[in-house]
Symmetry: C2
Subunit: 205 residues, 2 copies
């Protein structure tokens, strides 16, 4: 019995299925057949939208990466220098949806063996490097390269650390670490507005 389906909704359902399968079982489990099963359709429905497995992966990953970039720019909200950097880092260290976090780890693991994933991840990393290092340069700190490398380590650590501690993120604890790192990087005093924000947060119980 043919059903009326909105092609855009169907395309989204296909990418949703790719994300869910990759998050649960890794990218090797993402096949045209597995996606079809998950959306309750035949494989020909899936291949109607994508030319093959590579395009299936590429579309889902590109959609997810585009959504993350849009979120990041909304968080930065036009700020520059140290204030923009703090906003970007807070966004990156914010609590991710559990499935989204597992999806990104699956992407990191699979990238070395799936060229289509490698290409998308490289493009995202280039964007991140350019954006983050640009804000570091604008902030005027000495040793911008060490500062940027340290920011990378801390952001990666905050993301992966969430795997070891289930449950909601302890924001106060995360902020204490960020404050400490921020001071170490010489970024604390560079943005009076952000320092003010931190002070307000500190006196709030």
């Amino acid at each position: 019995m043919p059903r009326q389906v909105d092609p855009a909704a169907r395309r989204d359902a296909v990418s949703d299925a790719v994300l869910a399968i990759a998050a649960d079982r890794g990218f090797t489990a993402v096949t045209i057949r597995a996606v079809a099963e998950r959306i309750g359709a035949s494989t020909s429905v899936v291949t109607h939208y994508v030319s093959g497995r590579d395009e299936l992966l590429r579309r889902a990953v590109q959609r997810e990466i585009a959504a993350r970039k849009t979120q990041a720019e909304a968080a930065i909200a036009g700020r520059s220098g140290a204030a923009g950097l703090l906003a970007l880092v807070r966004w990156a260290a914010a609590d991710l949806d559990d499935q989204v976090r597992r999806f990104w780890l699956a992407l990191l693991i699979a990238a070395p063996v799936e060229p289509v994933l490698r290409a998308e991840l490289d493009a995202f990393n280039t964007w991140w490097d350019t954006r983050m290092r640009g804000l570091v340069a604008e902030s005027g700190v000495p040793d911008p390269d060490v500062v940027a490398d340290t920011v990378d380590v801390v952001v990666d650590g905050m993301i992966i650390g969430r795997f070891e501690e289930p449950g909601p993120v302890d924001a106060a604890r995360r902020d204490r670490v960020l404050d400490r790192v921020w001071a170490a990087l010489g970024l604390e005093a560079s943005s009076p507005r952000e320092v003010g924000e931190r002070r307000i947060r500190r006196v709030t119980p």
Copy 2:
């Protein structure tokens, strides 16, 4: 044609196969059949050594974790306080074999859905927390909890960051980040010997 096999060697081969499959395709791909195929034996050879899939996973993970702990203690080499902490962190941030790194990430991903993996990972995390936080406490820094949380974030970040940059680790770059974090945590001056070591490294081209 029956072959003479050393049971210990066979057991190691089974665990090696679990590690390799998990690293390449995640723990969902680790089955008795997949392990048997990988070692070129029948499934009954595998089930001769383990009672089922859970025990297969448990043994391989316990062996890997025991090896990592032994390495860590060798790196600490009886040092205490800040010097012991620096040795532990350097060991944790050192370049891991690519397969071992992918195995640990696979473990992190699978732990929420495989109770046997969750139990082993929790035991390892308890050991790490006790060891690392003990050294922080001994170092006498103020705010030991913030220091320990920051160490966790930095170590996790250094491990995951290696996925984004293939090739050998840039030790000088990693050490610059560690030096910066170390200073931020108030640990720099607490161990004259380690400060001396760092100074020597800095003047070496």
